[in-house]
Amino acid sequence: MKLSPDETIFWQYGFITINLTVVTTWMLMLIMVVGSWLITRKLKKNIHVSHWQCILEMIVIAIKNQIKEIGLNKPEKFIGFIGTLFLFIALSNLCIIFPGYEAPTGSLSTTAALAICVFLAVPFFGIAEVGILGYLKSYLQPTFIMLPFNIISEISRTLALAIRLFGNIMSGGMIVSILLTIAPLIFPILMTILGLITGIVQAYIFSILAIVYIAAATQESKPEKKKAIIKTQ
């Protein structure tokens, strides 16, 4: 039984392998890049905008509002990273309605790459926002005894991000393929519908968790601010 689309190999030379995951990922990237280029080619500012521009604006504004709701006050800085994560995972999970398609997020290499992106983005945004010292100080919260535990949590949450997305998508595909051998009439469709919901929720959770991690790294502990919050309470 195939565990991931990594095992369908088209072309191999040395350590360079082109498998189904790579091909599907590049196809999705092509669709997204060309699609958004076609839409944003003729942006209009007046009241009559095209349907596609309207849809794109809705998506961007929704992502921006989500980022602001979690607690990042300047969403424009982060929307490039978070929005790309969300849109890529959501699109690759939604395309399972096409027959013969295997989601690239159902392979551990893709999800590990996405999780490593989050792992690297946290210190990047943290240092850009509060400086190196301010970022390193966040490891010593609340006391310096917590330093090893903070480092462990940094690594384990990256692992959890990768395994969560991979497991959810892989199990969805596997349940459908098992049901196809047991009850091939209607039930696989129902499970595919469930897989659509799971895919969107997992994309949402992945980006929400990325926002939460970045927000935790970028918010400097300011004593005056804390006092003000306590006073208002």
């Binding site: 039984m1 565990l3 395994i163 497991g167 959810n168 892989m170 199990s171 929720v201 929400i208």
Partner: protein
């Protein structure tokens, strides 16, 4: 017994136990969180959208726990490193 038989028995039994416990415990947690969410939604219907959103996120986080167990049992059955080591010998 041969080592391959022992490894097969151990990994199959462990896969079953892993899935059983890993499904049982998150199910209890999910049931508790859903009942709490329903209670609060019945008391404050105005805040239903926020509660539902948080509930879904929480449910997916809980479900990922059982997914971890599922992944481990899949590895034990289909991609067992010890089994491949013995077979390769």
């Amino acid at each position: 017994m041969e080592s391959s038989t022992l490894i097969a028995i151990a990994s199959i039994a462990t896969a079953g136990i892993t899935t059983a416990i890993g499904v049982m415990m998150p199910a209890i947690g999910q049931g508790k969180s859903i009942s709490a969410a329903l209670n609060s939604m019945a008391q404050q219907p105005d805040s239903a959208p926020t509660i539902t959103r948080t509930l879904f996120v929480g449910l997916a986080m809980l479900e990922s726990l059982s997914i971890y167990c599922f992944v481990i049992s899949m590895i034990l059955i289909f991609a067992n490193p010890f089994w491949s080591h013995v077979i390769a010998k």
